[in-house]
Assembly symmetry: C2
Homo-oligomer: 317 residues x 2
């Protein structure tokens, strides 16, 4: 048995990529990524449709984040065919699909893809069951499919009342084991209803998080998302995820308190995305530690600095 | 500088695969495969059409032949998507295409694909120029495209009068260097007009073969091919390739003299393919050595035994 500290990142999309690519630089960590299986858009959606496989997209991103191969291989995995019958497909998705077809096992496909990328750590699909994400809006409307919630065709001003999986899905035993054996579990950053909470809708995952002795950390998003977390402040993010897992389920919150420049925010406003205000005054109920600081990466996109994120996570173990 | 003997295999299709997979088991060889760039059928054809790249199919087969990775990776490279928009594409072709798009260089793409497969030796595209193969039949008809010659829609009883490339193509300098520095060059087995001779139509290759001090070996096919080498005997194969390179350009011929079982040949006859008769009496003109023996592999397909082929090649250096 190794004495390496086990950090488990739970999420999906680009958030989990950011966390893992920061933590990867610490060789003494045993990293595990638990990845949502709700994605059904783009290349992933087509492959689910045509091959009936589990969604490869978020798995691919997590694998690339953990890769110690040269940059070209990571670039290859994320390469998207620009034209023809392959248009929109990402190479890594095709690789995972092919490996699944050959081996007959999605998990083995993920492992083999990890070998090719020389990943540090392990990427674990949260469930091996096929399921779809649904959202019930505050007006009663039901939205089917992660991609339709994510890029809303519905009125994005309407709040999501509830999300659920159909059919019900049971946790991958490896995901449960990873959470229970972890020293720290980091949830987020990431789209609340389409990347983070779907993991906890899988039967067994929520209980494992409540049961584990690991330190539990939630990283609040930097920007709101139209149709999903419209006009949310930091406390809204916290109370929303607590609604699904449990009041005060987290030991720590990581929240950004540095506002990006106005010219950058202006571009985001065109997509109805706003800066997430750090409303400390509304977090009085939160019993854990609040780590509020500048988490921004330099650049034109409002993104977490993966190094700062990793540094703050490391301090907690 | 290494003292390893350099063996260069020239061909395309499955023949070059057979030669290389046998020779790969000799660790003390420096193997180089020079591969025809005339293929334009199937997955390769679509990728040429849509991405304007050089044909990846034969490159892929040669890389897999030289691979020392585990079997799964070789299987992955040869995996063909059975359905949907990806139908018929081979994974390895998509990998080479993606790498070419990312790096901007077909040669680098081949090198990087070789790294992933842990290949022993090097695969060299005979030319980096885009060209197509044409055939003029004995009735004057012009057939455009390797795939149309290979799987004839024309009358397959008609002899090919001449094949040529359009536009003209110049040799990859690495191919020339490999031939000049070789200890032995093995040409074939392989489809005469669609896999072997197209290499020698590339400007510079024929001269390099005539000039090199390497031993030059030609492996005669086991079966004829309708529309290409219909009713050919061993001497017809030899004289046809000599027509393009030069009389007595080879030092040795490897020819099979063992007839497969009748029940196997029967299946081949349905595709108008016949056993290639070893007509020693017509090879009196040939000044080099003739190695005639049982080159057959066990099984339902008439194929060269790659081990026997390698053993006989090794004896010549």
């Amino acid at each position: 048995m190794s004495n390496k500290k086990i950090i488990v990142a739970i999420g999906g999309g680009t958030g989990v990529f950011t966390v893992l690519s920061g933590l990867k630089n610490y060789p003494d960590l045993n990293l595990k990524a638990i990845v949502s299986m709700a994605d059904d858009g783009g290349s992933t959606g087509i492959l689910r449709e045509e091959f009936g496989i589990l969604p490869p997209g978020d798995i691919r991103r997590a694998l690339v984040a953990l890769s110690h191969s040269d940059k070209l291989l990571a670039e290859l995995f994320n390469y998207r065919f620009p034209q023809g019958g392959l248009s929109g497909h990402s190479f890594g998705n095709l690789l995972i699909t092919s490996l699944e077809r050959i081996t007959g096992s999605f998990e083995q496909a993920v492992r083999e893809a990890g070998k090719i990328l020389s990943t540090q750590g392990e990427v674990i699909p949260v469930t091996l069951d096929q399921c779809r994400l649904f959202a019930k809006l505050e007006n009663g409307e039901i939205i089917q499919g992660e991609t339709n919630i994510d890029v809303p065709k519905h009125d994005g001003n309407l709040k999501i009342e509830r999300i659920y999986l159909k059919p019900k899905a049971t946790a991958n035993p490896k995901a449960i084991k990873a959470i229970l054996n972890a020293d720290l579990v980091i949830v987020g950053p990431g789209d609340l209803y389409t990347s983070l909470i779907p993991n906890f809708l899988v039967s067994g995952v929520r209980n494992a998080l409540l049961k584990t002795k690991a330190k539990k950390v939630y990283a609040v998003n930097l920007m709101t998302k139209f149709g999903e977390t419209h006009n949310f402040s930091a406390s809204d993010f916290v109370s929303s995820i607590e609604n699904y897992i449990g009041k005060n389920c987290f030991d720590y919150i990581l929240a950004n308190n540095k506002k990006p420049e106005e010219k950058i925010l202006k571009k985001y406003r065109e997509q109805n995305a706003r800066f997430v205000n750090f409303d400390k005054e509304n977090l009085d109920d939160f019993k854990g530690g609040i780590i509020a600081k500048n988490f921004l990466r330099k650049g034109e996109l409002v993104r977490h600095n993966s190094r700062t994120l990793a540094e703050e996570i490391i301090k907690l173990i």
